[in-house]
Symmetry: C2
């Protein structure tokens, strides 16, 4: 009976968010989520900080605030990002980095405009782009990031408004774009006047290899919008991230944010600011890396040990995910059903591909499960996969 | 150089938000804002609650949550709204009620679709509708709410998708739609299949007169989406509101919210929930009404005393605003400049009219200034207005 906007046609909501209901049964070992480990949240420190800032500064923390964010927090973020920011850039605090994806899409896209995404890519972003009426075309991922040959071809073919990339420890593939490719992707996009939306929420969770420059750091022409988040490093429940881009782009974000939520909660912004200012952050991220490194090593080791030959995995230097390509002919959806019956879960790969296919792929998360559960769950999955091969 | 979406053409950001910079000078008496009084925030209680819930429940409060909201909070909101909810309705927690406006617009509007708003109406909402590509047509406000004759005419003329109304203590006018008119507006909209977006953030701040039923309470056919907020009653800095509507509509909100901010901060949701559950809320709202009543009375009394004959004001039974119509020929923008020079400020009326005009109108807020400042500022404004008449 409702005359809904056509943008919802064919959109059913994240396949991933829907299966989470299925997984809330006792003894389920889940590699399906993308959550940070709740065991590692700095709860005690945040409890203390929140109490203090409301008691001491309630009149401003509980009041309306500026749309771009708490001024002292923005200053701190500028200071911390001095190496990648230009004078023509500005920062807006977002309610998680997803909001930055949404804003960028609505800033650039009109119905039918083409944009490019990696294939595979983050499901939530793909849905956001579609709901913003974008025509999403994709570029194939290689071991060191997207194919630059294909990128240039697609740009020539479609004249896209922007490229969406997660260059570091990508969700879902765990792949990191090499330094060489970052430069090349930037150069190609600059050449053709294509903007880059660089979504980089995992970059600080590095467990091996050399840190790489953000694509934003090459940006001498204002074409890169960089999104960052504290969801993976402090707490996703607080919903605090930020975007760095040319002032003209941030001015549009400001207009959109006035309508979206007026501003991000002053309380959660100030909590993150104080966590940084009091010097907890760097230590905390170091601890996270130590713990997650063990979990990643356990998962990669177990896959190598228990999965049949012909199953291939990525080799993530950080982040939360390993991506597995099973032997041709193994259907990840059928495998999923069987695995859930035996109380081990993962996420099937096909929904991450905007253009379909890839039935033999799956994503496995190693930040949530304990090391014994990783060992047990991967062993079980290995047994079940063998029945499918 | 950027290929921005055309929706930004001619949109310059809220005129109100821009003048706030101007007003941050010492000794300025400001009737310009729309903020609740920071003196009345329940800071001590919220400080205690936040500390407790993070310390005791950090693993869930700091983690990702469900898109619709914290389940126990949704249950509580359903319980408190049992009198207006139907079985076919559902609730989503929003990051302030502005987010509900944004979602409703994106759920219904495609480029060029017509919707109706009151004239005058909330500036932030008007901007949101325009950024959602809506063609905003208006219906004139009368002393007891919009003209129902004009409503029906405009519906016949434009076939709008929905009517946006703030029925209680409207921003900016302070006008409340009468009970009779609520029924009539509902009946007309139902007859023509026009949805109603009922934005009701001020309803609990009533200082005189009888409480009226929400338009949602008449809704036997699923055409009303009601927005509510804790910004005016607990704290705007927390960014917590909610929407009640038919499940089909909430399902679309759910999809939009996955992209917008995934979910509202679990921390701020849980703080509001605990503030309600521990029984602070009703007492607190009662205290707010006692204090704001005095401020409203002081402002209305001072306007009657100091403004020249020929200046008319509304008679708000609640909320945060009084609306003033100056004698014909007095230009509120010119008056504003003069007043700011003399350190008293208000908001000019014209921007609240989607279709322009009304140069002799202005909005005055009484929740922020103290009673002595209300007396002093209105007296000063009265003197300056006399020079303009």
């Amino acid at each position: 009976m409702y005359r809904f906007a056509k943008r919802f046609d064919g959109i059913g909501g994240s396949e991933i968010r829907k299966i989470f209901g299925l997984l809330a049964v006792p003894d389920m070992i889940s590699f399906a989520g993308g959550n940070p480990s709740p065991e590692l949240f700095p709860a005690e420190t945040l409890a203390e900080i929140s109490e203090e800032i409301i008691a001491e500064n309630g009149k401003s923390v509980l009041q309306y605030g500026g749309t771009l964010g708490v001024p002292a927090f923005i200053e701190l973020l500028k200071y911390r990002n001095a190496d990648i920011m230009r004078e023509t850039d500005d920062i807006v605090v977002t309610s998680g980095s997803s909001q930055g994806i949404d804003f960028f899409a609505h800033t650039m896209i009109e119905k039918g405009d083409v944009m490019l995404a990696e294939s595979p890519s983050f499901l939530g972003a793909l849905q956001t782009f579609r709901l913003a009426d974008a025509d999403v075309k994709t570029v194939t991922m290689e071991e060191d990031g997207i194919s630059t040959t294909e990128l240039e071809e697609k740009i020539k073919q479609y004249n896209p408004k922007f490229l969406y990339t997660i260059p570091t420890f990508q969700n879902p593939s765990g792949i990191t774009m090499s330094g060489e490719k970052r430069q090349k992707v930037y150069d190609i996009c600059k050449k053709y006047g294509v903007l880059i939306l660089e979504d980089d929420p995992y970059a600080e969770l590095r467990y091996s290899g050399q840190a790489l420059e953000s694509i934003k750091s090459y940006d001498d022409s204002g074409i890169v919008c960089k999104l960052a988040s504290f969801s993976k490093t402090i707490s996703p429940g607080l919903r605090v991230g930020y975007a760095i881009a040319n002032k003209e782009i941030i001015a549009k974000f400001n207009l959109l944010k006035q309508g979206a939520d007026v501003h991000t909660s002053n309380l959660t912004q100030t909590m993150v600011m104080e966590f940084l200012k009091r010097g907890y952050y760097d230590e905390h991220v170091k601890m996270l890396c130590t713990e997650y490194r063990k979990q990643r090593d356990a998962m990669c080791g177990a896959i190598d040990k228990y999965f049949p030959q012909g199953a291939k995995r990525t080799n993530p230097d950080g982040g939360l995910f390993v991506w597995v390509t099973l032997p041709e002919g193994v259907n990840a959806r059928a495998l999923f059903e069987e695995c859930v019956n035996e109380k081990v879960a993962f996420v099937v790969g096909p929904p991450f591909f905007a253009e379909g296919g890839h039935e033999n792929t799956l994503r496995m998360n190693f930040s949530m499960p304990s090391i014994p559960d990783i060992e047990k769950g991967v062993e079980k999955m290995g047994r079940i996969i063998r029945d499918f091969v």
